[in-house]
Protein backbone atom coordinates (compact mmCIF):
# COMPACT_ATOMS: atom_id res chain seq x y z
CA UNK A 1 0.00 0.00 0.00
CA UNK A 2 2.80 2.39 0.91
CA UNK A 3 4.34 2.23 -2.54
CA UNK A 4 1.02 3.30 -4.09
CA UNK A 5 0.79 6.18 -1.62
CA UNK A 6 4.21 7.28 -2.83
CA UNK A 7 3.10 7.04 -6.46
CA UNK A 8 0.03 9.06 -5.52
CA UNK A 9 2.07 11.76 -3.79
CA UNK A 10 4.69 12.07 -6.51
CA UNK A 11 2.12 12.32 -9.27
CA UNK A 12 0.06 14.79 -7.26
CA UNK A 13 3.11 17.01 -6.89
CA UNK A 14 3.78 16.60 -10.57
CA UNK A 15 0.32 17.79 -11.48
CA UNK A 16 0.75 20.77 -9.16
CA UNK A 17 3.96 21.68 -10.92
CA UNK A 18 2.23 21.80 -14.31
CA UNK A 19 -0.75 23.88 -13.29
CA UNK A 20 -1.07 26.02 -16.40
CA UNK A 21 -2.19 23.23 -18.78
CA UNK A 22 -4.96 22.18 -16.38
CA UNK A 23 -6.15 25.75 -15.94
CA UNK A 24 -6.19 26.28 -19.71
CA UNK A 25 -8.04 23.02 -20.25
CA UNK A 26 -10.70 24.02 -17.72
CA UNK A 27 -11.08 27.42 -19.40
CA UNK A 28 -11.67 25.72 -22.75
CA UNK A 29 -14.24 23.35 -21.32
CA UNK A 30 -15.96 26.20 -19.49
CA UNK A 31 -16.33 27.94 -22.86
CA UNK A 32 -17.92 24.80 -24.35
CA UNK A 33 -20.39 24.32 -21.51
CA UNK A 34 -21.33 28.03 -21.48
CA UNK A 35 -22.20 27.84 -25.17
CA UNK A 36 -24.40 24.78 -24.56
CA UNK A 37 -26.18 26.57 -21.70
CA UNK A 38 -26.90 29.45 -24.10
CA UNK A 39 -28.15 26.89 -26.63
CA UNK A 40 -30.66 25.33 -24.21
CA UNK A 41 -31.84 28.73 -22.98
CA UNK A 42 -32.46 29.80 -26.59
CA UNK A 43 -34.31 26.58 -27.47
CA UNK A 44 -36.59 26.72 -24.42
CA UNK A 45 -37.01 30.47 -24.91
CA UNK A 46 -38.46 29.78 -28.36
CA UNK A 47 -40.98 27.43 -26.78
CA UNK A 48 -39.06 24.25 -27.64
CA UNK A 49 -38.56 21.34 -25.26
CA UNK A 50 -36.08 18.45 -25.29
CA UNK A 51 -38.05 15.28 -24.56
CA UNK A 52 -38.83 14.83 -20.86
CA UNK A 53 -36.43 17.55 -19.68
CA UNK A 54 -37.37 20.95 -18.31
CA UNK A 55 -34.93 23.81 -18.90
CA UNK A 56 -33.56 23.61 -15.36
CA UNK A 57 -33.09 19.83 -15.68
CA UNK A 58 -31.24 20.35 -18.95
CA UNK A 59 -29.01 23.04 -17.37
CA UNK A 60 -28.33 20.76 -14.41
CA UNK A 61 -27.52 17.85 -16.72
CA UNK A 62 -24.79 19.82 -18.49
CA UNK A 63 -23.46 21.45 -15.34
CA UNK A 64 -23.05 17.99 -13.77
CA UNK A 65 -21.61 16.64 -17.01
CA UNK A 66 -19.08 19.47 -16.82
CA UNK A 67 -17.93 18.26 -13.39
CA UNK A 68 -18.15 14.52 -14.17
CA UNK A 69 -16.09 15.00 -17.30
CA UNK A 70 -13.12 15.98 -15.13
CA UNK A 71 -13.79 14.07 -11.93
CA UNK A 72 -15.16 10.73 -13.18
CA UNK A 73 -13.96 10.25 -16.75
CA UNK A 74 -10.41 9.06 -17.25
CA UNK A 75 -7.84 10.21 -19.78
CA UNK A 76 -4.82 8.11 -18.81
CA UNK A 77 -4.68 6.10 -22.05
CA UNK A 78 -2.38 8.76 -23.56
CA UNK A 79 0.27 8.09 -20.94
CA UNK A 80 -0.24 4.33 -21.04
CA UNK A 81 0.21 4.32 -24.81
CA UNK A 82 3.45 6.33 -24.54
CA UNK A 83 4.68 4.00 -21.80
CA UNK A 84 4.17 0.90 -23.91
CA UNK A 85 5.32 2.42 -27.18
CA UNK A 86 8.50 3.92 -25.78
CA UNK A 87 9.45 0.80 -23.85
CA UNK A 88 9.02 2.16 -20.28
CA UNK A 89 6.68 -0.77 -19.72
CA UNK A 90 9.80 -2.93 -19.33
CA UNK A 91 10.40 -1.38 -15.88
CA UNK A 92 7.12 -2.81 -14.68
CA UNK A 93 8.01 -6.32 -15.72
CA UNK A 94 10.82 -6.34 -13.16
CA UNK A 95 9.22 -4.29 -10.38
CA UNK A 96 6.91 -5.59 -7.64
CA UNK A 97 4.09 -3.23 -8.56
CA UNK A 98 0.74 -4.04 -10.07
CA UNK A 99 0.34 -2.34 -13.44
CA UNK A 100 -3.42 -1.89 -13.12
CA UNK A 101 -3.18 -0.52 -9.56
CA UNK A 102 -0.30 1.78 -10.56
CA UNK A 103 -2.33 3.48 -13.27
CA UNK A 104 -5.41 3.61 -11.07
CA UNK A 105 -3.35 5.55 -8.52
CA UNK A 106 -1.99 7.88 -11.22
CA UNK A 107 -5.52 8.40 -12.48
CA UNK A 108 -6.80 9.36 -9.01
CA UNK A 109 -3.96 11.66 -8.00
CA UNK A 110 -3.97 13.36 -11.40
CA UNK A 111 -7.58 14.32 -10.81
CA UNK A 112 -7.22 16.03 -7.43
CA UNK A 113 -6.07 19.43 -8.64
CA UNK A 114 -8.43 19.33 -11.60
CA UNK A 115 -11.33 18.48 -9.29
CA UNK A 116 -10.68 21.53 -7.15
CA UNK A 117 -10.57 23.78 -10.23
CA UNK A 118 -13.60 22.27 -11.89
CA UNK A 119 -15.68 22.66 -8.72
CA UNK A 120 -14.67 26.33 -8.59
CA UNK A 121 -15.57 26.79 -12.26
CA UNK A 122 -18.88 24.97 -11.80
CA UNK A 123 -19.66 27.14 -8.78
CA UNK A 124 -18.89 30.19 -10.92
CA UNK A 125 -21.25 29.10 -13.68
CA UNK A 126 -23.75 28.04 -11.01
CA UNK A 127 -23.79 31.60 -9.65
CA UNK A 128 -24.79 32.87 -13.09
CA UNK A 129 -27.41 30.25 -13.90
CA UNK A 130 -28.27 29.62 -10.25
CA UNK A 131 -32.05 29.88 -10.46
CA UNK A 132 -31.99 27.26 -13.22
CA UNK A 133 -30.30 24.48 -11.26
CA UNK A 134 -32.59 21.57 -10.30
CA UNK A 135 -31.46 20.45 -6.84
CA UNK A 136 -32.76 17.12 -5.51
CA UNK A 137 -35.78 17.29 -3.22
CA UNK A 138 -34.62 14.35 -1.10
CA UNK A 139 -31.30 14.96 0.70
CA UNK A 140 -30.44 11.23 0.44
CA UNK A 141 -30.16 11.71 -3.32
CA UNK A 142 -26.80 13.44 -2.82
CA UNK A 143 -25.42 10.28 -1.20
CA UNK A 144 -26.74 7.96 -3.95
CA UNK A 145 -25.36 10.36 -6.56
CA UNK A 146 -21.91 10.22 -4.95
CA UNK A 147 -21.97 6.40 -4.88
CA UNK A 148 -23.04 6.29 -8.54
CA UNK A 149 -20.29 8.74 -9.49
CA UNK A 150 -17.74 6.68 -7.54
CA UNK A 151 -18.73 3.51 -9.40
CA UNK A 152 -18.57 5.47 -12.66
CA UNK A 153 -15.05 6.59 -11.78
CA UNK A 154 -13.83 3.00 -11.36
CA UNK A 155 -15.56 1.77 -14.52
CA UNK A 156 -14.35 4.76 -16.56
CA UNK A 157 -10.77 4.05 -15.50
CA UNK A 158 -11.04 0.37 -16.42
CA UNK A 159 -12.35 1.16 -19.90
CA UNK A 160 -9.66 3.77 -20.48
CA UNK A 161 -7.01 1.32 -19.26
CA UNK A 162 -8.19 -1.22 -21.86
CA UNK A 163 -8.06 1.46 -24.58
CA UNK A 164 -4.47 2.28 -23.59
CA UNK A 165 -3.45 -1.38 -23.88
CA UNK A 166 -4.22 -1.30 -27.61
CA UNK A 167 -0.68 0.04 -27.94
CA UNK A 168 0.58 -3.53 -27.53
CA UNK A 169 -0.97 -4.37 -30.91
CA UNK A 170 -0.98 -1.14 -32.91
CA UNK A 171 1.88 1.28 -33.44
CA UNK A 172 -0.21 4.14 -34.81
CA UNK A 173 -2.88 4.29 -32.09
CA UNK A 174 -3.83 7.96 -32.12
CA UNK A 175 -6.79 7.94 -34.52
CA UNK A 176 -8.17 4.64 -33.28
CA UNK A 177 -7.91 5.74 -29.67
CA UNK A 178 -9.78 8.99 -30.33
CA UNK A 179 -12.64 7.20 -32.00
CA UNK A 180 -12.93 4.52 -29.30
CA UNK A 181 -12.75 7.09 -26.53
CA UNK A 182 -15.34 9.26 -28.20
CA UNK A 183 -17.67 6.32 -28.80
CA UNK A 184 -17.44 5.54 -25.08
CA UNK A 185 -18.21 9.16 -24.14
CA UNK A 186 -21.03 9.36 -26.69
CA UNK A 187 -22.76 6.28 -25.26
CA UNK A 188 -22.02 7.55 -21.76
CA UNK A 189 -24.24 10.55 -22.40
CA UNK A 190 -21.69 13.38 -22.49
CA UNK A 191 -23.04 14.91 -25.69
CA UNK A 192 -26.74 14.39 -25.10
CA UNK A 193 -28.84 12.59 -22.46
CA UNK A 194 -29.28 9.02 -23.71
CA UNK A 195 -33.07 9.10 -23.49
CA UNK A 196 -33.13 11.80 -26.19
CA UNK A 197 -31.51 9.42 -28.69
CA UNK A 198 -33.73 7.86 -31.38
CA UNK A 199 -35.42 4.79 -29.92
CA UNK A 200 -33.19 2.14 -31.53
CA UNK A 201 -29.99 3.92 -30.47
CA UNK A 202 -31.35 4.53 -26.97
CA UNK A 203 -32.06 0.77 -26.66
CA UNK A 204 -28.46 0.00 -27.58
CA UNK A 205 -27.13 2.62 -25.13
CA UNK A 206 -29.27 1.19 -22.33
CA UNK A 207 -27.59 -2.22 -22.72
CA UNK A 208 -24.02 -0.90 -22.71
CA UNK A 209 -21.89 -0.28 -19.61
CA UNK A 210 -20.99 3.29 -20.65
CA UNK A 211 -24.23 4.81 -19.33
CA UNK A 212 -22.92 4.32 -15.76
CA UNK A 213 -20.16 6.89 -16.33
CA UNK A 214 -22.30 9.98 -16.93
CA UNK A 215 -25.96 9.40 -17.75
CA UNK A 216 -27.00 7.20 -14.79
CA UNK A 217 -25.33 9.31 -12.07
CA UNK A 218 -26.96 12.47 -13.45
CA UNK A 219 -30.34 10.77 -13.77
CA UNK A 220 -30.01 9.78 -10.11
CA UNK A 221 -29.27 13.40 -9.20
CA UNK A 222 -32.33 14.52 -11.18
CA UNK A 223 -34.34 11.81 -9.34
CA UNK A 224 -35.33 10.18 -12.61
CA UNK A 225 -34.06 6.67 -11.77
CA UNK A 226 -36.64 4.60 -9.88
CA UNK A 227 -34.20 2.03 -8.44
CA UNK A 228 -30.66 3.33 -7.86
CA UNK A 229 -29.71 0.13 -6.01
CA UNK A 230 -30.35 -1.94 -9.15
CA UNK A 231 -28.10 0.52 -11.02
CA UNK A 232 -25.37 0.05 -8.42
CA UNK A 233 -25.61 -3.73 -8.80
CA UNK A 234 -25.44 -3.53 -12.61
CA UNK A 235 -22.49 -1.11 -12.47
CA UNK A 236 -20.78 -3.46 -10.01
CA UNK A 237 -21.18 -6.42 -12.36
CA UNK A 238 -19.71 -4.39 -15.21
CA UNK A 239 -16.80 -3.27 -13.02
CA UNK A 240 -15.91 -6.90 -12.30
CA UNK A 241 -16.40 -7.93 -15.93
CA UNK A 242 -14.27 -5.12 -17.38
CA UNK A 243 -11.61 -5.74 -14.70
CA UNK A 244 -11.35 -9.37 -15.82
CA UNK A 245 -11.23 -8.21 -19.43
CA UNK A 246 -8.44 -5.74 -18.62
CA UNK A 247 -6.38 -8.45 -16.89
CA UNK A 248 -6.88 -10.80 -19.82
CA UNK A 249 -5.92 -8.14 -22.35
CA UNK A 250 -2.85 -7.18 -20.28
CA UNK A 251 -1.72 -10.81 -20.06
CA UNK A 252 -2.07 -11.21 -23.83
CA UNK A 253 -0.37 -7.86 -24.39
CA UNK A 254 2.70 -8.82 -22.34
CA UNK A 255 3.17 -11.82 -24.63
CA UNK A 256 3.10 -9.46 -27.63
CA UNK A 257 5.33 -6.84 -26.02
CA UNK A 258 8.55 -6.13 -27.94
CA UNK A 259 10.29 -3.78 -25.48
CA UNK A 260 11.11 -1.21 -28.13
CA UNK A 261 13.29 1.67 -27.00
CA UNK A 262 14.62 0.91 -23.52
Amino acid sequence: MRKYLTVFRVNWQNSLQYRAPTVIYILGYTLYISVLLFLWTAIYGEGGRMGPYSLSEMMTYYLLQFVINSVVLSYVSWEIIDHIREGFFSHFLVKPINYFAYWFTINLSGKLFETVLILLAAAGIGLVVGPHVAFPSDPRTYATFLVAAGLGLVLAFELEFCIGLIAFWLIQVRVFKYMLQYAVFFFAGTLLPLDLFPRALAEVAARLPFQYLVFVPIQIFLEKRPAPLADFAAAGVWIVAVYLLARWVLARGIVRYEAVGN
Binding site: Y18, P21, L27, L31, V35, F38, L39, A42, R49, Y182
Partner: protein, 272 residues
Protein backbone atom coordinates in the same frame (compact mmCIF):
# COMPACT_ATOMS: atom_id res chain seq x y z
CA UNK B 1 5.51 55.42 -53.23
CA UNK B 2 5.60 53.60 -56.54
CA UNK B 3 8.67 51.64 -55.52
CA UNK B 4 7.07 50.42 -52.27
CA UNK B 5 4.06 49.29 -54.29
CA UNK B 6 6.27 47.21 -56.54
CA UNK B 7 8.13 45.68 -53.61
CA UNK B 8 4.82 44.75 -51.97
CA UNK B 9 3.78 42.93 -55.15
CA UNK B 10 7.12 41.16 -55.17
CA UNK B 11 6.69 40.13 -51.54
CA UNK B 12 3.25 38.70 -52.25
CA UNK B 13 4.55 36.80 -55.29
CA UNK B 14 7.44 35.44 -53.25
CA UNK B 15 5.07 34.32 -50.49
CA UNK B 16 2.90 32.50 -53.05
CA UNK B 17 5.95 30.81 -54.57
CA UNK B 18 7.17 29.69 -51.15
CA UNK B 19 3.73 28.41 -50.29
CA UNK B 20 3.68 26.41 -53.52
CA UNK B 21 6.99 24.71 -52.72
CA UNK B 22 5.98 23.92 -49.13
CA UNK B 23 2.63 22.51 -50.30
CA UNK B 24 4.27 20.32 -52.96
CA UNK B 25 6.82 19.03 -50.46
CA UNK B 26 4.22 18.23 -47.80
CA UNK B 27 1.89 16.58 -50.29
CA UNK B 28 4.69 14.20 -51.27
CA UNK B 29 5.21 13.43 -47.60
CA UNK B 30 1.51 12.79 -46.98
CA UNK B 31 1.20 10.49 -49.99
CA UNK B 32 3.77 8.14 -48.50
CA UNK B 33 1.54 7.31 -45.54
CA UNK B 34 -1.61 6.17 -47.30
CA UNK B 35 -3.02 4.09 -44.44
CA UNK B 36 -2.68 7.12 -42.16
CA UNK B 37 -4.55 9.18 -44.73
CA UNK B 38 -7.47 6.72 -44.83
CA UNK B 39 -7.60 6.67 -41.01
CA UNK B 40 -7.59 10.47 -40.79
CA UNK B 41 -10.41 10.83 -43.30
CA UNK B 42 -12.33 8.08 -41.50
CA UNK B 43 -11.93 9.88 -38.18
CA UNK B 44 -13.14 13.18 -39.65
CA UNK B 45 -16.22 11.52 -41.13
CA UNK B 46 -16.92 9.87 -37.76
CA UNK B 47 -16.77 13.17 -35.86
CA UNK B 48 -18.73 15.09 -38.48
CA UNK B 49 -21.31 12.31 -38.40
CA UNK B 50 -21.67 12.77 -34.65
CA UNK B 51 -22.09 16.55 -35.10
CA UNK B 52 -24.86 16.02 -37.62
CA UNK B 53 -26.47 13.38 -35.38
CA UNK B 54 -26.42 15.88 -32.49
CA UNK B 55 -28.34 18.47 -34.49
CA UNK B 56 -30.65 15.83 -36.01
CA UNK B 57 -31.64 14.79 -32.48
CA UNK B 58 -32.19 18.43 -31.47
CA UNK B 59 -34.34 19.09 -34.51
CA UNK B 60 -36.39 15.94 -33.79
CA UNK B 61 -37.60 17.92 -30.75
CA UNK B 62 -37.72 21.50 -32.07
CA UNK B 63 -38.34 23.17 -35.44
CA UNK B 64 -35.94 26.11 -35.13
CA UNK B 65 -32.92 27.06 -32.99
CA UNK B 66 -32.40 30.80 -32.72
CA UNK B 67 -34.64 31.04 -35.80
CA UNK B 68 -32.46 28.64 -37.83
CA UNK B 69 -34.05 25.60 -39.48
CA UNK B 70 -32.31 22.21 -39.73
CA UNK B 71 -31.14 22.79 -43.30
CA UNK B 72 -29.83 26.24 -42.45
CA UNK B 73 -27.98 24.70 -39.50
CA UNK B 74 -26.34 22.14 -41.81
CA UNK B 75 -24.82 25.10 -43.66
CA UNK B 76 -23.44 26.31 -40.31
CA UNK B 77 -21.93 22.91 -39.49
CA UNK B 78 -20.51 22.53 -43.00
CA UNK B 79 -19.02 26.03 -42.99
CA UNK B 80 -16.98 25.20 -39.87
CA UNK B 81 -15.61 22.17 -41.75
CA UNK B 82 -14.66 24.33 -44.75
CA UNK B 83 -12.92 26.98 -42.63
CA UNK B 84 -11.01 24.25 -40.78
CA UNK B 85 -9.83 22.57 -43.97
CA UNK B 86 -8.73 25.94 -45.38
CA UNK B 87 -6.88 26.57 -42.11
CA UNK B 88 -4.99 23.27 -42.37
CA UNK B 89 -4.09 24.20 -45.94
CA UNK B 90 -2.58 27.48 -44.71
CA UNK B 91 -1.37 27.52 -41.11
CA UNK B 92 -3.08 25.33 -38.52
CA UNK B 93 -0.76 22.32 -38.28
CA UNK B 94 2.30 24.50 -37.72
CA UNK B 95 0.84 25.92 -34.51
CA UNK B 96 0.28 22.39 -33.21
CA UNK B 97 4.03 21.84 -33.59
CA UNK B 98 5.00 25.22 -32.10
CA UNK B 99 5.43 23.91 -28.54
CA UNK B 100 8.07 21.42 -29.72
CA UNK B 101 9.90 24.14 -31.65
CA UNK B 102 10.05 26.37 -28.61
CA UNK B 103 10.95 23.64 -26.12
CA UNK B 104 13.79 22.24 -28.20
CA UNK B 105 15.07 25.61 -29.39
CA UNK B 106 14.43 24.72 -33.04
CA UNK B 107 12.42 27.91 -33.21
CA UNK B 108 15.79 29.67 -33.69
CA UNK B 109 15.86 28.37 -37.24
CA UNK B 110 12.55 30.06 -38.02
CA UNK B 111 13.73 33.40 -36.66
CA UNK B 112 16.72 33.69 -38.96
CA UNK B 113 14.90 32.96 -42.23
CA UNK B 114 13.96 35.90 -44.50
CA UNK B 115 10.24 35.35 -43.91
CA UNK B 116 8.00 36.13 -40.93
CA UNK B 117 8.28 33.27 -38.41
CA UNK B 118 4.50 32.92 -38.02
CA UNK B 119 4.04 32.58 -41.79
CA UNK B 120 6.96 30.22 -42.12
CA UNK B 121 5.64 28.11 -39.23
CA UNK B 122 2.25 27.76 -40.88
CA UNK B 123 3.53 27.06 -44.39
CA UNK B 124 6.08 24.55 -43.21
CA UNK B 125 3.38 22.13 -42.07
CA UNK B 126 0.56 22.82 -44.55
CA UNK B 127 -1.55 19.72 -44.80
CA UNK B 128 -4.19 18.73 -47.28
CA UNK B 129 -5.19 15.50 -45.56
CA UNK B 130 -5.22 16.38 -41.85
CA UNK B 131 -8.73 17.81 -42.12
CA UNK B 132 -9.74 16.66 -45.61
CA UNK B 133 -12.61 14.45 -44.46
CA UNK B 134 -14.10 17.35 -42.55
CA UNK B 135 -13.63 19.67 -45.52
CA UNK B 136 -15.31 17.30 -47.98
CA UNK B 137 -18.15 16.49 -45.63
CA UNK B 138 -18.47 20.21 -44.89
CA UNK B 139 -18.82 20.89 -48.59
CA UNK B 140 -21.46 18.15 -48.88
CA UNK B 141 -23.42 19.54 -45.92
CA UNK B 142 -23.26 23.10 -47.24
CA UNK B 143 -24.38 21.84 -50.66
CA UNK B 144 -27.22 19.79 -49.21
CA UNK B 145 -28.41 22.62 -46.97
CA UNK B 146 -28.09 25.17 -49.79
CA UNK B 147 -30.18 22.98 -52.13
CA UNK B 148 -32.99 22.90 -49.56
CA UNK B 149 -32.90 26.54 -48.55
CA UNK B 150 -33.43 27.84 -52.10
CA UNK B 151 -31.19 30.92 -52.07
CA UNK B 152 -29.94 31.91 -55.54
CA UNK B 153 -26.49 31.06 -56.88
CA UNK B 154 -25.65 34.76 -56.74
CA UNK B 155 -25.03 34.36 -53.00
CA UNK B 156 -22.02 32.10 -53.49
CA UNK B 157 -19.28 34.72 -54.18
CA UNK B 158 -20.18 36.66 -51.02
CA UNK B 159 -20.31 33.37 -49.08
CA UNK B 160 -16.79 32.46 -50.18
CA UNK B 161 -15.58 35.96 -49.36
CA UNK B 162 -17.07 35.75 -45.86
CA UNK B 163 -15.48 32.32 -45.35
CA UNK B 164 -12.21 34.15 -46.02
CA UNK B 165 -13.06 36.76 -43.38
CA UNK B 166 -13.83 33.95 -40.90
CA UNK B 167 -10.50 32.36 -41.75
CA UNK B 168 -8.77 35.65 -40.84
CA UNK B 169 -10.61 35.72 -37.49
CA UNK B 170 -9.63 32.09 -36.87
CA UNK B 171 -5.99 32.83 -37.70
CA UNK B 172 -5.95 35.89 -35.45
CA UNK B 173 -7.39 33.89 -32.54
CA UNK B 174 -4.93 31.05 -33.14
CA UNK B 175 -1.99 33.48 -33.26
CA UNK B 176 -3.08 35.35 -30.13
CA UNK B 177 -3.59 32.20 -28.06
CA UNK B 178 -0.33 30.67 -29.26
CA UNK B 179 1.58 33.80 -28.24
CA UNK B 180 1.42 32.37 -24.72
CA UNK B 181 3.63 29.46 -25.80
CA UNK B 182 6.79 31.44 -25.00
CA UNK B 183 5.80 31.38 -21.33
CA UNK B 184 3.98 28.06 -21.08
CA UNK B 185 6.31 26.14 -23.45
CA UNK B 186 3.70 23.42 -24.02
CA UNK B 187 1.31 24.20 -26.85
CA UNK B 188 -0.99 21.19 -26.64
CA UNK B 189 -3.46 22.72 -24.18
CA UNK B 190 -3.30 26.14 -25.83
CA UNK B 191 -4.36 24.51 -29.04
CA UNK B 192 -7.12 22.60 -27.33
CA UNK B 193 -8.61 26.07 -26.68
CA UNK B 194 -8.27 26.88 -30.37
CA UNK B 195 -9.97 23.55 -31.11
CA UNK B 196 -12.84 24.31 -28.70
CA UNK B 197 -13.10 27.74 -30.33
CA UNK B 198 -14.02 26.11 -33.65
CA UNK B 199 -16.11 23.38 -32.00
CA UNK B 200 -18.33 26.01 -30.43
CA UNK B 201 -18.52 28.09 -33.62
CA UNK B 202 -21.18 25.93 -35.23
CA UNK B 203 -24.06 27.24 -33.12
CA UNK B 204 -26.01 30.18 -34.57
CA UNK B 205 -25.15 33.63 -33.22
CA UNK B 206 -28.82 34.21 -32.45
CA UNK B 207 -28.69 31.98 -29.33
CA UNK B 208 -26.48 34.46 -27.45
CA UNK B 209 -27.83 37.21 -25.23
CA UNK B 210 -26.45 40.10 -23.20
CA UNK B 211 -22.87 40.01 -21.98
CA UNK B 212 -22.34 36.56 -23.54
CA UNK B 213 -23.14 37.97 -26.96
CA UNK B 214 -20.62 40.79 -26.53
CA UNK B 215 -17.89 38.39 -25.37
CA UNK B 216 -18.59 35.93 -28.18
CA UNK B 217 -18.37 38.78 -30.70
CA UNK B 218 -15.36 40.82 -29.61
CA UNK B 219 -13.24 38.66 -27.30
CA UNK B 220 -13.84 35.06 -28.42
CA UNK B 221 -15.68 35.68 -31.70
CA UNK B 222 -17.22 32.21 -32.05
CA UNK B 223 -20.58 33.78 -32.87
CA UNK B 224 -19.23 35.14 -36.17
CA UNK B 225 -17.05 32.35 -37.64
CA UNK B 226 -19.84 30.16 -39.04
CA UNK B 227 -22.91 32.35 -38.66
CA UNK B 228 -21.77 35.22 -40.89
CA UNK B 229 -20.90 33.18 -44.02
CA UNK B 230 -23.74 30.71 -43.44
CA UNK B 231 -26.31 33.50 -43.13
CA UNK B 232 -25.40 34.61 -46.68
CA UNK B 233 -26.18 31.17 -48.12
CA UNK B 234 -29.11 30.49 -45.81
CA UNK B 235 -31.06 33.50 -47.06
CA UNK B 236 -30.54 35.47 -43.84
CA UNK B 237 -28.22 38.12 -45.32
CA UNK B 238 -27.61 41.00 -42.91
CA UNK B 239 -25.19 43.72 -44.09
CA UNK B 240 -24.74 45.00 -40.56
CA UNK B 241 -23.47 41.59 -39.50
CA UNK B 242 -21.12 41.43 -42.48
CA UNK B 243 -19.66 44.83 -41.62
CA UNK B 244 -19.27 43.70 -38.01
CA UNK B 245 -17.37 40.55 -39.07
CA UNK B 246 -15.01 42.58 -41.26
CA UNK B 247 -14.34 45.07 -38.45
CA UNK B 248 -13.70 42.28 -35.93
CA UNK B 249 -11.40 40.49 -38.40
CA UNK B 250 -9.31 43.61 -39.01
CA UNK B 251 -9.23 44.53 -35.31
CA UNK B 252 -8.32 41.04 -34.13
CA UNK B 253 -5.69 40.53 -36.80
CA UNK B 254 -3.97 43.80 -35.87
CA UNK B 255 -4.17 43.05 -32.16
CA UNK B 256 -2.94 39.47 -32.57
CA UNK B 257 0.02 40.57 -34.70
CA UNK B 258 1.10 43.13 -32.11
CA UNK B 259 0.70 40.55 -29.32
CA UNK B 260 2.65 37.89 -31.22
CA UNK B 261 5.52 40.24 -32.11
CA UNK B 262 5.74 41.35 -28.49
CA UNK B 263 5.70 37.74 -27.27
CA UNK B 264 8.48 36.78 -29.66
CA UNK B 265 10.82 38.90 -27.58
CA UNK B 266 10.24 36.54 -24.66
CA UNK B 267 11.52 33.53 -26.55
CA UNK B 268 14.49 32.27 -24.58
CA UNK B 269 16.00 29.92 -27.19
CA UNK B 270 16.26 27.00 -24.80
CA UNK B 271 18.32 24.63 -26.89
CA UNK B 272 20.85 22.31 -25.36
Amino acid sequence: MKRSGISAVCAVRRTFRLYGSFLAQNLKNEMVYRANFVLLVGMDLFFMGINVAFFAILYANVTTIGGWTFHQTLILVGSVGLVREAAYLLFRQGFLELGDYVRTGQFDALLVKPIRPNIHLGFRHVSLTESLGEGLMGLALVGYGFAHVGTGWAAIPLYVLMLGVSLVIYYAFCLAINSAVFWIIKSQELNSIVYTFMETARYPRDIYRGLGKAIFTFVIPISLIATVPASVLAGRLDWGLIALAVIVAVGMMSGATVLWNWSLRHYSSASS
